[in-house]
């Protein structure tokens, strides 16, 4: 088609006949339509049922409603800050600067799972802790952890299908038990994970909760060697079982209020424990616990000594994207990781453009 161009610019070929010009115009139209169609295809315009970040966040919104300015999941929370003091041991596993001997500032956020920012506190709800480690030279490590020992879903699709199955039925206002049973029947990995989760008694508060990375990651050491890891924040505060007489009836924020009271009394501390996977340990399945006997290393202590309401904390406007990793850490092949990154970003973008509404834990509540 381009042989014409070797002719000199001044030497005009004879004009085309009307019909041949028309044919060529139609050909150009077809080429343009193909290019535009390819672009729209890549954007998912022709696959309306494919799971996308937007459709995932829509499902959260259908389950818990839209609460202006709040996260679409883990909506109820408070901001915290403090520092991480590395003991230098972790440098043997990863070249990440966070593991060099010394101290880095940390911003974090405690939360409850679910999209309702005014949900009543309860010991059986999923507890979350998002952390941002501010490393030298503008590097960052962000991690979003929960108190579950394993994650209930293997894939983003399973998570989504469960969200859809547990949406309130418009007739009864409650989730349909048949749909939930059907989901469980077709997801044995979820059933196995839930039995592990239910065998762990919840602790009394946020301060004595252990938080887990759930997903596996790779640590890369200075020599370039990679090992699969998971991590846990193990509380220094002693375990106490959640009491049955817990008092959500008198104070719907009682767990957050206890957290505020204890952090104002003394700084709260957690040991960062790295669990080192062995060959054959699944790195792509967060529903499965790694067997006992895996090597564990205490790499330092997290100290949280300051607490803020959502309104006054910088944590509100931070996306605790688990794939913001420093050099020396890398994502595993767990399909949840990329999906979490995509969905957190979608949730962040939606709430960023909305008017902020007051959070359940008000600035006054934090100061009292």
């Amino acid at each position: 088609m381009l042989s014409d161009s070797t002719a000199s610019a001044e030497k005009q070929p004879a004009p085309l006949s009307r019909s041949s010009a028309l044919r060529r115009l139609m050909g150009i139209g077809v080429v343009i339509l193909c290019v535009a169609g390819g672009f729209l295809y890549l954007g998912g315009w022709f696959s309306p049922n494919a799971l996308t970040p937007a459709r995932f966040v829509d499902a959260f919104e259908r389950t818990d409603g839209v609460h202006s300015g709040f996260r679409r999941n883990h909506a109820k929370g408070v901001g915290v800050s403090g520092y991480f003091e590395s003991n230098g041991e972790g440098a043997r596993l990863s070249k990440a600067v966070v593991f060099k001997l010394g101290r880095v500032p940390v911003t974090g956020r405690f939360s409850f799972g679910g999209g309702d920012p005014n949900v009543v506190d309860g010991p059986n709800m999923v507890r979350g802790l998002g952390l941002l480690f501010w490393l030298p030279d503008g590097e960052e490590w962000r991690t979003a952890m929960v108190n579950l020992p394993v994650f209930p879903f293997q894939t983003p699709q399973a998570f989504y299908d469960n969200l859809v199955a547990s949406q309130p039925d418009p007739k009864t206002g409650k989730p349909d038990p048949e749909k939930i049973a059907a989901f469980a029947a077709s997801h044995p990995a979820t059933v196995r994970a839930l039995s592990i989760i239910q065998s762990h008694a919840p602790s009394s508060g946020f301060d004595n909760t252990a938080f887990n990375s759930l997903n596996a990651f790779w640590f890369i050491d200075a020599a370039g060697k990679s090992i699969p890891v998971r991590w846990t924040l193990a509380p220094v505060q002693p375990f106490a079982a959640a009491s049955a007489a817990a008092t959500a009836q008198t104070d719907k924020n009682y767990m957050f209020d206890e957290l505020i009271a204890s952090i104002l009394q003394h700084p709260l501390q957690w040991h960062l424990i790295i669990t080192i996977g062995q060959p054959g340990d699944p790195t792509n399945d967060a529903t499965v616990a790694w067997l006992d006997g895996r090597g564990q290393m205490d790499v330092g202590t997290l100290t949280l000594n300051h607490i803020d309401s959502e309104e006054t904390s910088p944590a509100r406007d931070i996306n605790f994207d688990p794939l913001v990793l420093p050099s020396g850490m890398a994502p595993s092949d767990d399909p949840l990781l990329s999906a979490r990154s995509a969905i957190y970003s979608q949730s962040f973008t939606r709430r960023a453009g909305e008017a902020k509404t007051p959070s359940a834990i008000s600035p006054a509540e934090v100061r009292k």
Binding site: L2, S5, T6, L16, R24, I28, V35, G43, T52, A339
Partner: protein, 183 residues
């Protein structure tokens, strides 16, 4: 002007930069529209999108500066003054979008207080203060301008096909990747 009228092609450097830019921008548009709809590939795509955007920003600045110091081949005699005006305006639009889109991307990540990773520990400093309101505005603008860039590309591509296949005035030869002999 005598020498300029004998020049039928853009300089070799200008043509290299043009085709390099064409490949980068088409890749970028495809990655951009795919990554926002993707779960499993999101991280991989976004890890290419950011450094590629910064590379485009660098190349567009080099192209713009180089263009100021280069002699451009004349438009074919077949093009009317209106057509020349439209062609020139579309070039201004393309250059502007190719410069502004990466800057907005960089700015919106800055406003979101998100690290702008290029490769390994290599990253860019923020150019705007942390403000989610600003982020939300820039994020929307990034999408709108990206679609506008795609439409501008389609118009550019369509116009060249039209001139080459229907008008047959040799417009394409000015930017052809190979050498076209002057008369």
């Amino acid at each position: 002007m005598n020498t300029a009228s004998q020049q039928t092609q853009f300089t070799v450097l200008m043509r290299i930069l043009h085709w390099l830019m064409a490949a980068m921008v088409l890749t970028m548009l495809g990655i951009g529209v795919a990554m926002v709809a993707s779960l499993g590939d999101y991280h991989r795509l976004v890890s290419i999108h950011r450094p590629l955007g910064i590379a485009i920003l660098i190349v567009v600045v080099i192209r713009f500066v180089n263009r100021q110091f280069s002699t451009l081949p004349p438009f074919p005699a077949s093009m009317s003054s209106q057509e020349r005006f439209v062609a020139h305006a579309s070039e201004v639009l393309l250059y502007t979008l190719l410069f502004v889109l990466p800057l907005i991307g960089w700015g919106m990540l800055s406003a979101a207080r998100f690290p702008i990773l290029l490769y390994g520990p290599l990253h860019l400093p923020p150019i705007l203060p942390h403000s989610v309101t600003l982020y939300a505005f820039l994020r929307r603008t990034h999408t709108v301008l990206a679609y506008l860039l795609f439409l501008a590309f389609i118009a550019h591509f369509g116009a060249i096909l039209f001139h080459t296949l229907v008008v047959r005035d040799g417009l394409f030869s000015r930017m052809a990747p190979w050498r076209v002999r002057a008369r």
